[in-house]
């Protein structure tokens, strides 16, 4: 039975939510915009899901725009904001996901300047640098709540307060954080927040952008005017219902999830320390309890990964999106990690289904692989 330790890439769908979702494929199949009865049940189901998603992050249902995923939510936030404002200065964190860096990059041709908030060796924003950049009063700042590779958590409420004080709009990619830790949109001070269903055991292909009413966005998709004109396209009813269901489950289980993940992580990290010559990235920072990203000095990460898969263990190096590239992770490089070490990085991300046994299985396989690969490397050098 393969061991899945790649929950930050995606998480298996919660069977309880599947039950709730399935009827909206075959029986309650109507188009929510239809005036007849077939449209009404799906419409009501979407409204309910909207409340559930809003509750997860303490937002108001009217602030929720359903999208086709986390990538689309961040695209809408960044490009949607930029389209309605004179080109200026966009500031993003140094360790953002491509769904933030790429839209930012695409704004350059419209005259926007993009600056990067540097991070320290543990992946945290640097106070003095942040202050300096914010003093330039950038109209928009985008920093993720928790990093997908290292799990490092930024202090978004503190940052948002500073952004607001300097007259800017704050966007945060909370795709990896919501449902794993307490994320309070209303209290955070952020204006825009991206969410994704499949990272919390929901269906792929659906996400949300939480929008503070004071911010106006140009919609990315024109058409039938769904989501109050903010996101046209027939609603993915089943997906949205699934999203609402897992949001609800996540909120109820938040404390329990945190405890269980911490136990797994502590177990893993003490075993890793025992192995020796292992560097855990962001170890001193506040991190998601489910994520451990570490370097295995002197070993090729890709080879290690594939061998681990052959041993029945699924983990990743860097993020899923970038896993076809052989470059060292930009996130780790931003943290000042040596490129050779970054290439050896492995990310373990736990989920609800993992057990202590899984940790032990992983350590056993890792130990065996490291011994073999280090021996081979030694042989190659000697």
């Amino acid at each position: 039975m393969p061991v899945y330790l790649d929950h930050n890439a995606t998480a298996p769908f919660d069977a309880r939510a599947l039950e709730v979702m399935l009827p909206y494929l075959t029986q309650q199949h109507g188009n929510p915009s239809s005036v007849h009865r077939y449209g009404r049940a799906p419409r009501a189901a979407i409204d309910r899901a909207r409340e559930q998603v809003a509750e997860l992050v303490n937002a108001h249902p009217s602030q929720v725009i359903f999208t086709g995923g986390g990538t689309e939510a961040s695209n809408l936030a960044i490009k949607g904001f930029a389209a309605l404002h004179e080109s200026g200065h966009l500031v993003i964190g140094a360790t953002e996901h491509p769904s933030v860096t790429e839209p930012a990059e695409s704004l350059k041709k419209n005259g926007w300047r993009v600056s990067v908030l540097p991070v320290d060796g543990q992946g945290r924003l640097i106070g003095t640098e942040t202050e300096a950049l914010l003093k330039l009063r950038p109209p928009m700042v985008s920093v993720m709540w928790a990093n997908n590779e290292t799990g490092v958590i930024q202090d978004i409420p503190a940052l948002a307060a500073k952004v607001r004080a300097n007259g800017g709009v704050m966007h945060t990619d909370a795709v990896q954080a919501a449902g794993k830790i307490e994320v309070d949109f209303s209290a955070s001070g952020a204006h825009l927040m991206s969410l994704s269903a499949h990272k919390i055991n929901g269906p792929k292909g659906v996400g949300a952008l939480i929008v503070d009413k004071s911010v106006e966005l140009m919609p990315l998709l024109q058409g039938g005017g769904q989501e109050k004109g903010q996101r046209s396209g027939t609603e993915n009813v089943a997906g949205i219902v699934g999203f609402g269901a897992v949001a609800s489950l996540a909120k109820a289980q938040l404390a329990d999830y945190g405890t269980r993940m911490r136990l797994l992580r502590d177990r893993l990290e003490s075993e890793l320390q025992a192995l020796g010559d292992i560097e855990i990235f962001g170890a001193q920072a506040n991190r998601l309890a489910n994520t451990v990203c570490f370097g295995t000095h002197g070993v090729d990460g890709e080879t290690l990964l594939l061998n681990l898969d052959r041993a029945g263990i699924a983990v990743s190096s860097g993020s899923a999106c970038a896993s076809q590239h052989r470059e060292p992770s930009p996130v780790l490089q931003a943290m000042g990690v040596d490129p050779a070490v970054a290439l050896s990085a492995i990310r373990v991300s736990f989920g609800a289904g993992n057990t202590a046994q899984d940790v032990d299985t992983f350590i056993a396989a890792l130990t065996a692989q490291l011994r073999q690969l280090r021996r081979m490397a030694g042989r190659a050098v000697g």
Partner: protein, 404 residues
Amino acid sequence: MKKPIYLDYSATTPVDPRVADKMCKYLTLDGEFGNPASRSHSFGWHAEEAVEEARANVAALIGADPKEIVWTSGATESDNLAIKGVASFYGKKGKHIVTCKTEHKAVLDTCRQLEREGFEVTYLDPEPNGLLDLGKLKAAIRPDTILVSVMHVNNEIGVIQDLAAIGKITRERGVLFHSDAAQSTGKVPIDVNAMNVDLMSMSAHKTYGPKGVGALYVRRKPRVRLEAQMHGGGHERGMRSGTLATHQCVGMGEAFRLAREEMATENDRIRGLRNRLLNTLKDMPEVYVNGDLEHRVAHNLNMSFNFVEGESLIMALKDIAVSSGSACTSASLEPSYVLRALGRNDELAHSSIRFTIGRFTTQEEIDYAAALVREKVAKLRELSPLWEMHQEGVDLSKVQWAAH
């Protein structure tokens, strides 16, 4: 018979149980739930395999190469990507786009957005039968035209445009040709090469697949370039970033595979049912079929019932689920812009009903619906002073209505 009887297949279709069955295998822990972009383990590889198999099935339905299929979240996104993507990439070559007044809002609104950004759009009028006159199209194309967008099958009246003829013109003039095929997949055979189509939008939920997934065909020979609208991890060769929803892609692939296999026989059966409905209704006085009957998909019947108020008719027909105008615009009380474009006056446009039948429609349902419509139309006409005047021979267009 389950009530209300569902006769609104063009608004959306139920997912075929065979498709739903297959989708379910790609969700939970005991299924293939991996992220298809995960290169480092078999969870990802298996998911990717399923997505690629689905991609091939989508391509096969339209005669394309799988490499030419880009997954999206639906036909609305495909339309946005095609039109804005071409406009952005080829904008320096020219800023003129030609389309038709009867396109879906996902095309029209996108064009309006481009107008706000400095593009010029010509919105052609169709003929009264709903079809585009090719001479008018030729005349509209200018040296600075970069795109022609004409939908294959209209969602409201079901008429089929001659894509091959249009494609011949656009190819000769060196202009890109996009077609919204959301309503045609599984109903009309499609061959993008024979039709000289460069871009084609497709939807899953109109062809017994799930909502929330679609695709865009993008020609590779000769290569059509697009500026991506969704930026991120570089998925779909950089044309559309975002984690692929394995279960959704599988659903669309399976739906399209079934469509390819069953289209011919299904069309025959459905045409029989639609004609049965038509024949029962057409001998009523003052009823009109909207749109050409010959160049039309077998599933669609759109009729206006003169001297009957549209909303009242819909209310009276609550045992059948139909629509007047299209689903996307049914929140507004404006008459259908498609019917207006055909030259129908406001009254006839308002009193129109769109019946669209499908895979699970039975003869019993058709007979019930036909009888119901006859009954309710007659009843409403009895109550209608306009109908009374018409029967007395009054020419209503000459009446001076007093204001209150």
